[in-house]
Symmetry: C2
Subunit: 203 residues, 2 copies
């Protein structure tokens, strides 16, 4: 009622609150009941938001699930300081934390399965690459030149890092190991550093 | 009946042929019909082996599927030559080829999901780690000392390599990229090489 009076509330507060409730309910269902049980109907019941209102916002169940576990990687924006280890540590910690929540662990295998029948251009796979990759490149750009080999392809390093994080989230023998973030930071620094490998490649 | 007479036939040759038929049928079903459709009943029909005979050999459907797509990593044994790049190339190519078959791609997300409800000590996760990890360590041991940093934990590098291979098999943006084996060999050499990272860690 006071919407017209209070400018701060003009941003459709009701929408935001519905989104939040739906995404929260989705995370809870994933963590408690698993992927299969997290249907739109279950999300509607758990959140108290009508299914039709949910479908007005998201076209598929997978979209809701993706948005719920990867809450816009904007949240993990790292402003590079030029200290490569420090920047990577912040980046990797946040990335790792996102992938290893109970909800993300529950949903990820099914999401990976769904991508096998999905067009590569489909927006649903964006979270895995598009939204975070440029941040990684920004960090490398800000680093001192003697810490990053210009011959190394940042995409290769990013792919390996993504893979290592997937393994940390999903593979039991890897999950068990301690200090995951620090280990990944060290390995990433190793992958990036100027090397004799390129020079010896043609031997 | 002739078991006592013919020592050569004591190894139950009929078993081997049944195993082969079952595992082949499983791979074909996975690649053609997907994971869900690859039930023991479907495997029995496709292979012509009775379900009871299948259950005499494997206790669960997951065990059959795992054995069918990871045919005992004994097959990919690399005898280290001491040439690190060459040994890694053979190791990574074989490993990558195993994970990226249509059958493996179809089964892997569901296998990963199943491990979340599986005891870590369960034999069913062995293929991911136990059987190949020692081979990787052997390759590093055989390498010249100036190519492998003694400070780097081989398990860390192996975990990252495993993750990178998983990503190559399952993540669309990564699958698309070319020369996967050579890229992984380069990155692995980078991770292993003697580094200034360890020395600067305490700064």
């Amino acid at each position: 009622m006071s919407d017209d009076v209070t400018p701060r509330r003009r941003g459709r507060p009701r929408d935001t609150s519905i989104d939040t409730r739906v995404l929260e309910a989705t995370r809870e269902l994933l963590a408690d009941q698993g992927f299969e049980a997290t249907t739109v109907q279950a999300i509607a019941e758990w959140s108290g938001v009508h299914a039709s209102a949910i479908y007005r916002r998201w076209s598929t169940r997978l979209e809701i699930i993706e948005e719920s576990i990867f809450p816009g990687f904007a949240a993990i924006t790292v402003h590079p300081t030029g200290d490569l280890r420090r920047d990577l540590r912040r980046f990797i910690r946040t990335y790792l934390a996102t992938f290893t929540t109970p909800a993300a662990r529950a949903a990820m295998p099914a999401l990976l399965a769904s991508y096998q029948s999905t067009e590569l251009a489909d927006t649903s796979v964006r979270w895995l690459a598009v939204s975070v990759r440029p941040q990684f490149v920004d960090i490398l750009r800000a680093a001192p030149s003697d810490t990053v080999d210009r011959d190394v392809d940042p995409d290769d390093v990013f792919d390996a890092l993504l893979g290592a994080i997937l393994a940390r989230a999903l593979v039991p023998t890897v999950i068990q190991r301690n200090r995951p973030a620090e280990r990944l930071v060290d390995l990433t620094l190793r992958m990036l550093q100027p090397t004799r490998v390129a020079a010896s490649r043609r031997l």
